[in-house]
């Protein structure tokens, strides 16, 4: 009971951000803060342009205005970072 209560009441989540090459960065984030802060922090850390990168949770897109509470995230969940896809011919 105590653990459950602690989990339910805790404001912070531990999220793992994973790039395509397998690099992992851990973030601690409030349930109610928007993902924009996390994205900016990641882009600065990994030195990538925010316009060329997409953040996915279970194959669905995360917007800057989303919060972890919107997507019903739990601590330990993975966020995938994918680079822009392009195609025309071989």
């Amino acid at each position: 009971m105590t653990d459950q209560n602690a989990n339910a009441n805790s404001e912070y989540l531990n999220l793992k951000v994973k790039s395509q090459e397998g690099e992992e960065i851990f973030f601690k984030i409030k349930k109610t803060t928007q993902f924009k802060k996390l994205m900016d922090a990641y882009c600065q850390r990994a030195q990538v342009n925010a316009h060329n990168v997409r953040f996915l949770f279970d194959g669905d897109r995360i917007l800057e205005s989303h919060t972890p509470a919107d997507l019903k995230m739990e601590s330990g969940d993975e966020i995938d970072v994918v680079v822009e896809q392009v195609g025309g011919s071989f």
């Binding site: 316009h51 997409r54 279970d58 195609g87 011919s89």
Partner: protein, 531 residues
């Protein structure tokens, strides 16, 4: 004292021996003179303030870059270009606008002298709208230059007056042209012909619809190949058959009383015979044609000039490219200028545009279409739990219906797969497909996926369905950049139940489709009502 003495002596000897060298005292600790070669340590990339070598290394760098820095200094003296941003308006170039304004002032007044109706309207309205006639629209740059050279009287042909007075203006325009024909027929005729040709060319470029459609073609081909003479022969044969059956049934009735089975046959034949008459066949065909064209009207869109300009302004934008063009609630992808400009002719399509358009298709057809991010998960061979979560979220099953998956291959090519659960087939559509390419390599992941989905529900291995791999037919691209368009429209047409993609999407249509996709994305819906 001794040391000082020795030093001065040493220096004097050096001076006497050869050219001047720097005195010993000038060289401080760690300072580097250009004459003594010293290799900088690669390990010490980040210099601290406490390091002795830092200052020397910096100095060395400065010495090496002396030439370039001097060049920079010289370039600073040249005045810099300050970038000025000019907002694009709906009307094309400012030069053209200026032309119109100049012309309108004169020509409207000229026209008012002739017609009293328009004069009143112009007086009432403070800012009268000025519209250019269709004949003027058709003209491209050539006529702009002609306009420059011409005198006022001749310019009246090209300019129009008011929204309400368009028909009158057209009449006047036609009358003038007829007069011109009478006076000097050769030049006027030549102009008219040129105008017509330009209009035709424009139509071909922008709005070229595929004229033949698979399902409609099957019927029409039969109809065309059978001459009307042959049809009549068939009808005569049918007449004979019916008469024979009638005789038989009458004989049968006489023998065995009423027999319902034979009666029903006769009725069927009668109905068939009725329909085979030419007039009724025509009605049937026309009904089919109307149905098909109704389908078409949902899928195609006849552009107006304003709408084309809207799209073109987005395509030709050259500043603030990361700004949003529009935002819709149901499209999570960002439709920035740079993303929409991937739809411009020689560019490769972006995943952002493709995912946004897929959302629109799903909204209109209720088909099951996955993201572009699903296929890489399969290729990566990531954890089964994750794949299953995504699959169940998107309603992917093995039980019924079909679903579509767009595929990005090696980061250079777009194609898609249709999984049909009723015929147990996995169909691979590729606009670049040839015999050399082994499409098995790209679709084998889906075989595993379907097997694993069935295993997860606890189906025994004997009862697991086996899927066939098939290479589907599509139109083929003849360049190196159009495959995204072929894929998007292929998914759209297949999900709305249309067969024969080869005839629906051709190389000549891709320019039209690029504009259409951009326009639909800006509008936020696929189905736009026909005017």
């Amino acid at each position: 004292m001794k040391s000082k003495f020795l030093d001065t002596l040493f220096d004097n000897i050096l001076n006497w021996l050869g050219p001047k060298k720097r005195k010993r005292d000038d060289i401080s600790i760690g300072e580097y003179d250009g004459e003594y070669p010293r290799i900088p340590d690669p390990s010490k990339k980040v210099f601290k303030s406490s390091d002795q070598f830092s200052s020397s290394n910096d100095q060395k760098l400065a010495n090496n870059n002396n030439n370039s820095s001097s060049a920079n200094q010289s370039s600073d003296d040249v005045p810099q270009i300050i970038h000025s941003v000019i907002p694009i308006k709906n009307n094309t170039s400012p030069r053209k606008e200026a032309q119109y304004q100049q012309i309108n002032k004169k020509d409207i007044i000229d026209h008012n002298k002739e017609n009293s109706n328009t004069k009143v309207k112009l007086q009432n309205q403070p800012n009268p709208k000025v519209i250019v006639l269709n004949e003027c629209n058709g003209n491209s740059k050539k006529n702009e230059f002609q306009l420059n050279g011409k005198k006022e009287a001749q310019l009246q042909e090209f300019i129009v007056i008011e929204e309400d007075g368009i028909e009158q203006a057209k009449q006047n325009h036609n009358q003038d042209k007829q007069l011109q024909l009478a006076r000097r027929p050769s030049s006027a005729q030549y102009q008219i012909e040129q105008d017509r040709k330009q209009r035709e060319n424009l139509d071909l470029e922008i709005i070229q619809l595929p004229k033949e459609f698979m399902e409609f073609k099957e019927i029409t081909d039969e109809w065309i190949s059978n001459d009307f003479g042959l049809l009549e022969q068939k009808m005569a044969k049918l007449d004979l058959q019916t008469q024979q059956i009638k005789q038989k049934t009458e004989e049968g009735r006489k023998k065995n009383g009423n027999n319902n089975q034979v009666d029903s046959d006769i009725i069927f034949i009668k109905q068939y015979h009725k329909k085979s008459k030419v007039g009724e066949l025509l009605e049937e065909f026309n009904q089919i044609y109307d149905l098909k064209t109704k389908k078409m009207k949902k899928l195609f869109w006849r552009f107006e000039e304003k709408q084309l300009k809207e799209v073109q302004d987005v395509f030709e934008r050259s500043f603030n490219l990361n700004q949003d063009v529009v935002t819709h609630q149901h499209i999570l992808e960002r439709l920035t200028f740079s993303n929409l400009q991937t739809l411009r002719q020689p560019n490769w399509l972006n995943d952002e545009v493709i995912n946004a358009y897929i959302r629109l298709i799903v909204q209109s057809t209720n088909a099951v279409i996955l993201n572009t991010f699903f296929y890489p998960e399969l290729v990566k061979n990531s954890a089964w739990n994750k794949i299953k979560r995504i699959a169940t979220k998107n309603k992917v099953t093995y039980k019924s219906g079909n679903f579509f998956v767009p595929m990005n291959i090696n980061g250079t090519h777009w194609s898609f797969v249709e999984v049909n659960n009723e015929t147990n087939k996995i169909i691979y559509y590729d606009s670049l497909a040839t015999d050399d390419r082994d499409y098995f390599n790209y679709t084998k992941y889906f075989v595993d996926l379907m097997q694993n989905l069935q295993k997860d529900d606890g189906i025994a291995q004997e009862n697991i369905k086996k899927y066939e791999l098939i290479n589907g037919e599509t139109g083929f691209q003849q360049n190196g950049y159009d495959c995204g368009v072929f894929m998007l429209k292929g998914i759209h047409y297949r999900s709305s139940g249309i067969n024969g993609l080869r005839l629906w999407i051709e190389q000549t249509d891709t320019q039209y489709y690029r504009y259409l996709i951009a326009f639909q994305l800006i509008q936020g819906k696929v189905e736009i009502c026909q005017n």
